[in-house]
């Protein structure tokens, strides 16, 4: 009389164990198929670029490519820096500095978005944090938006002279990548 119905636990255990093992196998098989779509080794290789700043005069800006993305480098005027400093952090849409070199929770003050003693240099990933367009504001004749920084024509986001979002649908300030001053006139991004 030692039939299976009298002792269902053993059969249940085998069923559950077998099914779980099949799930593990399926997941293990699926993993490479999904993972192959993530950035490959050549893309991930931490490409860094050195940028010579000497030709960029006060008030001018250049765009360089880093990891396939445009990086805005702007030599800000005294007035622009002052304008950025005057804004209380509490007035900002995004109150975080978004600077890879410092703490995630650091406030979005102007000092937290630049390097000490190089406050005139603003270096940021030039991609609108809304849907990824390249905002206007690098060239002299460009529309710089209501706050004198950058303006994204795609969906109307306005950034100020510290690259902080002030108006429009973008949720975050421009991201500041990690970079160092190799010399007074040269930076290394990445």
């Amino acid at each position: 009389m030692a039939s299976e119905t009298e002792n269902p636990n053993r059969r249940d255990f085998l069923t559950v164990a077998a099914t779980s093992w099949v799930a593990v196998g399926a997941a293990a098989t699926l993993w490479p198929l999904i993972q192959q779509m993530n950035p490959d080794a050549s893309t991930q290789a931490l490409a860094s670029v050195e940028v010579d700043l000497s030709p960029v005069k006060e008030g001018q800006a250049i765009t360089v490519m880093w990891r396939g993305k445009p990086v805005f480098v702007r030599n800000r005027t005294k007035a622009e820096i002052e304008q950025a400093n005057k804004v209380p952090v509490t007035d900002l849409i995004d109150r975080y500095a978004r600077n890879d070199a410092i703490a995630e929770t650091a406030a979005a003050s102007d000092q937290n978005r630049v390097k000490k003693d190089h406050e005139n240099w603003l270096v940021m990933v030039g991609i609108c944090t809304h849907l990824g367009c390249i905002p206007k504001g690098q060239a002299l004749g460009d529309n710089k938006g209501d706050y004198g920084g950058w303006f994204c024509p795609c969906h109307g986001s306005h950034y100020d002279t510290a690259g902080r979002i002030r108006k429009g649908p973008a949720p975050e300030n421009f991201k500041v990548p990690t970079y160092q001053f190799v010399s007074d006139t040269k930076i290394k991004i990445g």
Partner: protein, 418 residues
């Protein structure tokens, strides 16, 4: 509808031999010759056949174009020009494929509007309708992937904007959206890697569509076609065999449709595209005014009508997904809007809303355009989520004929026992 008379007779000994082993000819005869179709179908019922034709055209032209196209960021743009200028009949094949995508969407919008007007989504056609919504979603995905391939400015920036929609998920779980976008791109920006995988998926999805179309037609042939009065076939006099009646009508409509198709192909092959897509993709310069292909414009308008990034994305996807719940949102027992005096006008207003959103989607997102887009977006959702359930209960339907036969023949059909 599976219980109609079977008039299939194998003509030769070979076909009889085959019929005893794999009765595929018998099945086709039963489903596409003997199959009873309502005798009162109007020309709006010809778009199913037209859509099948469109899918076939896209697959055939797509397969031959893939023999010449190069899915590489350095060569893609030039390879399209190579197809247009050097490949034998390449100008024709490329135009048919590009115009074909637009014509496919023209037809699908008519087909969906017909379903809405005549209540084709209602019981027992819920699964049929849901399969249709899935096909539409797959079409949108395929069209989007395909528009990437010419690697022009609109291709590049369209991909950038649309894939970035997923980054809005960062507002739900920090990092999730960015991880998904990086995964989709295969890098930290849209690049040749992205183009290559989009080409692979663009080749795959049409066959998935073909599979779901098979299920859609299967479901249709289980429950039978709806018709302008929304009353099912009850007697033999309500229906005619599909061949030759419906087949000939479908063919006539198809030829008219092909004339329009051909006019675009031969006289205005680029009219439905965007001039900026004849500028090669440049990751450093965003075109001043990014617009998607015309068939996505209403949804693009909804996306931009919302001032929040996540909110816009949610409403945009929601505006399509809401269609899946239509069979249960519509509470009326009457199918056809022809007999629904209030609903009919609300639906006409909805059609106008959809067209208006399309117009607004093509305009810059500023000033009065945004306000109107918000008003029409509000009506879009109000129609489905509020008006549809309420009107179905409150409205008094107008008098209906008792049967298809009566609706066609009027009094002359009256006394027949049918």
């Amino acid at each position: 509808m599976a219980n109609h008379e079977d008039t299939f007779k194998p003509g030769s000994r070979l076909s009889q031999w085959l019929d005893e082993r794999l009765p595929v000819a018998r099945m086709m005869h039963g489903q596409f010759v003997d199959f009873p179709t309502p005798r009162n179908l109007n020309y709006l019922w010809t778009f199913g056949g037209i859509l099948t034709f469109c899918l076939g055209v896209q697959i055939i032209t797509g397969i031959v174009l893939a023999m010449h196209y190069v899915p590489n960021d350095k060569m893609a743009f030039d390879s399209i020009e190579h197809i247009r200028r050097n490949v034998n009949y390449g100008w024709l094949l490329r135009s048919v494929h590009a115009v074909g995508a637009s014509m496919f969407f023209v037809a699908v919008y008519v087909h969906i509007a017909r379903g809405l007007y005549y209540g084709s989504y209602k019981a027992p056609r819920e699964i049929l309708w849901i399969l249709g919504v899935i096909i539409y979603l797959l079409m949108m995905a395929t069209g989007f992937l395909g528009y990437t391939l010419p690697w022009g400015q609109m291709s590049f920036w369209g991909v950038t904007v649309i894939t970035n929609l997923f980054s809005s998920l960062d507002a739900v779980i920090p990092g999730l959206g960015t991880a998904i976008v990086t995964w989709l791109w295969g890098g930290y920006s849209v690049s040749g890697v992205t183009l290559n995988r989009f080409f692979s998926l663009h080749y795959l999805l049409p066959f998935v569509i073909a599979g779901v179309v098979g299920l859609h037609i299967w479901a249709l042939h289980v429950v039978g076609q709806n018709n302008p009065i929304g009353i099912d076939i009850k007697t033999k006099s309500d229906s005619v065999p599909m061949a030759p009646y419906a087949v000939m009508k479908d063919l006539f409509a198809l030829f008219v449709f092909i004339m329009l198709f051909a006019w675009f192909v031969f006289f205005a092959p680029d009219y439905l595209g965007h001039a900026d897509n004849y500028v090669e993709a440049n990751p450093l310069v965003t075109p001043p005014h990014i617009v998607p292909e015309w068939y996505y414009l209403p949804f693009y308008a909804i996306l931009r009508a919302v001032p929040s990034k996540l909110g816009g994305v949610v409403l945009m996807f929601g505006s399509i997904l809401v269609l899946l719940f239509l069979p249960w949102l519509d509470t009326s027992r009457v199918r056809s809007a022809r007999y629904r005096p209030i609903f009919k006008w609300l639906l006409v207003l909805f059609f106008f809303t959809f067209l208006a959103l399309g117009y607004l989607g093509s305009k810059p997102a500023e000033g009065i355009y945004v306000l109107w887009a918000q008003i029409f977006t509000a009506y879009y959702f109000l129609f489905f989520l509020v008006l549809m359930p309420i009107v179905g209960v409150l409205e008094t339907p107008s008098p209906m004929p008792r049967s298809i036969t009566e609706s066609v023949l009027g009094d002359r059909a009256a006394p027949a026992k049918s």
